[in-house]
Amino acid sequence: MRISRRTLLASAAAAGTLPVAGARAQAQQTIRIGCLTDMSGPYKDLAGPGAIAAVHQAIEESGIAAKGIKVDVVGADHLNKPDIGAGIVRQWFDRDGVDLVVEVANSGVALAVAGVAKEKNKAYINSGAATSDLTSSQCNANTIHWAYDTYMLAKSTGGAMVRSGGDSWYFITADYAFGKALTRDTSDFVTSAGGKVLGNSPYPFPGTTDFSSFLIQAQASGAKVLGLSNAGTDTINTIKQAKEFGIKMRLAGLLLFLTDIHSLGLDVAQGIVLTDSFYWDHNDRTRAFANRIAPKMGGARPTMVQAGVYASTLHYLKGVAEMGVAAAKADGAATIAQLKKMPTQDDCFGAGSIRPDGRKIHPSYLWEVKKPSESKGAWDYYKPLASTPADQAFRPMDQGACPLVKS
């Protein structure tokens, strides 16, 4: 057969359209999940690559492939900048056919993404951010907040410390929205439980590495408890230096992750009290999960954020199986509504539910960091102190001012 230049061009043009048409057809049955996380900054270890591994783990365990539904995953680094995060998510929704965004550590980015998800009517389940505004003034019908929030941390750690005699507090606060919110919420719990707040050192964030000055001021105030309203390497530096300066106060880590303790080492971190809604060595189910995901994480143990990403992805896929791929792809708000109707059940958080304001509820746990002599080895770091039941762990819905909650 002779091929003329015209037919060659025509078939080339036709071939050019084929993959596009194919992709469109495929997109009808494929669910695409975008994991927006911190791949290079301070939250890389507690979320980052481990969070993406958690999405894959959830997909493998969901059995969704057996139901004929294909799920693929894209990941991106938001660089802790709200504008960059929102830009990536916009592109994901508009161009790449992403149906669900998960993780998003960093409260600023998290709030920006919630706005985009609402605008584009897609589904968004946050596990990494702390701000409780996601389910109060800033709540929307496309967003679920999964693992923890500032209210949960403040209530559990603040309340428990006061009950055990720590009735006078001094705060070291990262001077921006997150740190201020944490200090404010914790102060409320401390004073309402009959305690006193004796002082607060708001320090410039980011860029502060030496906390000894604030530690000496805290010690001089005579307070019994030192509340650390910061996160990541700032908290690590504060704790290291508190140990160095022989600070005798009890340290309350208001937001500490397993990876922070791993970085500090037990000889420095021992005795610190903190709140997490997930600890890998908590019970048989959490241990089983940690063992299953360990090969994907280079042997490291999952944090509360990574567990939240796993559990929320699993729940989302159950919802998709229930309502069908086409419906899930068409309407993010309807998908989120479907997820809120279904009780949650997973190895990390056990049985739970999602409230109308988008708050996923489960118990929160107060932990104390073990002494080196009590630990059996790497990642064996926490012992349980107390727990708060699911219905009391989070802010009551009527106090959140979320417009979705009808009184």
């Binding site: 270890d45 860029g207 590495t209 000055s213 290291k240 160095e244 022989g246 922070d260 970085s263």
Partner: protein
């Protein structure tokens, strides 16, 4: 109790001392920068990254080879200094004929690459490094508990700063160096190998940064961003002290540490900004810096 501006005296003395300790780090880092700028005319933005490498180097020596803190205090500056020499030979030396800005861009890029590589390999939350056994504990000074390790840092910084100043200002090697900065072709005509001298100077400046990194490792979290946090303040120190002035950077380093420490008592929110406020005031009143020579 004595009260000074409504602050108890002992608390204030404590803060002065802490300021001096932080000033020790500023002095050591800005010293290296001043030496490099004075001799090579390179604004070395990679200084923070190399400081971080010094800390990581001591961690690696301990965890991979079992070499402790005190040998690391010597070895890490040598290793990182050698790395600096490689950088100078292969990259930086190509820019001497160009404008300052090219050196700034190159070293800034190097800093980003180095920090990115370390972040990829070791994560971002940092690695633990213990204070050596003999330097643990604290001494009661009456007005505050002074951790022994911090005292050691100030001592080391003072010795290193004095030694560097003495080498450059008081020895014949230092005289040759200063002469080479003034007029390289003439010094070369006297049979001095000027390019080698410059390479060694860069290596020496980097070794100073690495030394500060080893001292910092037990106090701060050993993490890839640790240099970035310091570098802006340190540049301000160099500018205030007078670009390229050795004595200026030492004195200013310690002095600004104290200013910053006092700000942390009276208005902590401004403690990161106060250094730059001082810089603006100095630049308006003495554009060449406190110790800068007139053109």
């Amino acid at each position: 109790m004595i009260m000074i501006f409504g602050i108890p005296g002992p608390l204030l003395f404590g803060q002065l001392l802490l300021g001096l300790i932080n000033g020790a780090f500023y002095a050591m880092l800005s010293l290296g920068l001043a030496v490099i700028f004075g001799m090579l005319n390179i604004i070395n933005f990679a200084h923070g990254a190399l400081f971080m490498m010094g800390a990581f180097c001591s961690w690696m020596l301990l965890n991979y080879l079992g070499i402790g803190y005190f040998p690391a205090l010597i070895l890490a500056p040598l290793i990182i200094g050698a790395f600096g020499i490689v950088l100078e030979k292969t990259l930086i030396s190509r820019l001497y004929k160009l404008d300052h800005l090219y050196g700034l861009l190159l070293t800034f890029g190097l800093a980003l690459v180095i920090e990115g590589l370390f972040r990829n390999a070791y994560g971002s939350s940092g690695l633990p490094y213990r204070i050596p056994q003999v330097l643990t504990g604290a001494t009661d000074l009456g007005f505050m508990f002074m951790p022994n390790y911090r005292g050691w840092v100030v001592l080391c910084a003072a010795v290193v700063c004095f030694a560097t100043w003495a080498i450059i200002e008081k020895t014949s090697l230092g005289a040759t160096l200063r002469a080479a900065t003034e007029n390289a072709p003439l010094v070369q005509a006297f049979g001095v190998n000027v390019p080698r001298l410059i390479t060694l100077t860069y290596g020496g400046g980097i070794a100073l940064a690495a030394f500060a990194g080893v001292l910092a490792a037990p106090i701060y979290s050993v993490n890839p961003n640790m240099g970035t946090n310091f570098i802006n303040t340190v540049f301000a120190v160099v500018v205030i002290g007078g670009m390229g002035s050795i004595l200026g950077s030492i004195v200013t380093g310690f002095a600004l540490g104290v200013v910053e420490g006092l700000t942390k008592v009276f208005y902590p929110q401004a403690s990161a900004t106060v250094v730059f406020v001082v810089m603006v005031i100095i630049l308006l009143t003495r554009p060449r810096g406190l110790f800068g020579k007139a053109a």
